[in-house]
Symmetry: C2
Subunit: 296 residues, 2 copies
Amino acid sequence: MDLKNYLGQRAALVDKALDALLPAEDTLPATLHKAMRYSVFAGGKRIRPILALAACEAVGGNPQQALPVACALEMIHTYSLIHDDLPAMDDDDFRRGRPTSHKVFGEASAILAGDALLTQAFVLLSSPATCEQIPAHTTLQILHTIARCSGSMGMVGGQVVDMESEGKQVDFPVLEYIHTRKTGALLLASIQCGGLVGAADDGAMAALTAYGEAAGLAFQIADDILDIVGEQTELGKDVGSDLARGKVTYPALLGLPAARERAQELKEIAVRALAPLGAAAEPLKAIARHIVDRSS
Amino acid sequence: MDLKNYLGQRAALVDKALDALLPAEDTLPATLHKAMRYSVFAGGKRIRPILALAACEAVGGNPQQALPVACALEMIHTYSLIHDDLPAMDDDDFRRGRPTSHKVFGEASAILAGDALLTQAFVLLSSPATCEQIPAHTTLQILHTIARCSGSMGMVGGQVVDMESEGKQVDFPVLEYIHTRKTGALLLASIQCGGLVGAADDGAMAALTAYGEAAGLAFQIADDILDIVGEQTELGKDVGSDLARGKVTYPALLGLPAARERAQELKEIAVRALAPLGAAAEPLKAIARHIVDRSS
């Protein structure tokens, strides 16, 4: 399959839906809605929404129906980036080559734009328009999955431990704790929620979950490797920035060759997990291959 | 009725439920869960949860069933206080006589504790245990009401406009915009969601909504008045702190006597709105009277 074309088309679909589902820039308070849109439309690759759509497709669902869920996931991802970039956290002035939210709108507005995006995700997930397309019971399962994976025992929890580990010697279990939560949890939620929209049966959900766990970790290792060897344009942040900040990474802990080997292994596990889903899972497989192979 | 006793009993019920529904302090990451609990158990009066329980009761529902919703409302209220107190926002060192979250745990942890509390509210609202007690369709309505009232066109929106108005001359429409959103929206949501749990019919929901709109505004005016004339112990913050900060308030705009008159008027409107609900609405009426009268 032509993955580049596929990713481009899906990202465009997601962008259009995000534009329709976010309050307009001139909706009061305009500064807040401007700030929310500034970060949502800052050139993200829409990996989480695309995974949700592809997972829905992989179990025989209609990806169009998964669009609101996909957009909610991107809003949560964006809020997490805005807050991560704050002076009190990573203190980043740029993301994907553009000034970060607090550099443009000020710190208070950046905090509030993040808060509002997180909340807007739940407005969207529980909105009558979304609920018309998905059974209420399934919508609540989706909501619960996304909230759990984003909260204190998911993404936020991972960020806390990552922050506490900066500049410290950490061991492998802590590294896995951070990555399965800080980035892995929302990636897994994206895949599982796509499956839920597609009314996946237990076997299909198990396949998606196994894929999501392996692929999520593989993506993180690939990102860590790119932080060392990548091009700045590909990475969207300064090469070596993790190292400079004393962040714990796979290559730092395992060495570069072993980290690469682990990423390849996880990619194989992820692809094999999808075997029961047949040809409909081709896009998910291609995404896992692409993300790991660009780092090797 | 003995309101003091009623409020004490209900607050104790809410505190117990919050303790059961929040992750334990030693759940990893422990610092995060400690920070979440520190602010939730910082001596709040539990007005929002109590209003939700009382509204449920007023329409003939079982207040016990509204406890998870009541706790979710308190988590959202607490997150908003943590973020409002941040150095980039109001920069408050104390709240209710205790050091604020960022003074105890640092700024990054306070931001993340707020994020996690907001998210935990939605974990709770969509949890299987909550969903067992309330029909899925109703749960989604509750979730949507709470999310909308908390988001960019509710509480966060009100906070943004409040912040932008500091030290500026603002007119009455802006003042009402701020108050109906910053504090009024979540108070109204609390009352409406209590009604939803209690399976209120359209007439009862209309009565609760009319009560909630009037009472929400009355509470805010009462708070503004107490900021000028109150005792520090009653207020839980420095007397005159709004004034010092150049915050726009009702007494500042209308003068103290007219502000008091407006609060009394709104109290009457709120109490009258509940007439169709009969004796079951006594606690809601008593709450409105109590909150307004302590400022006059």
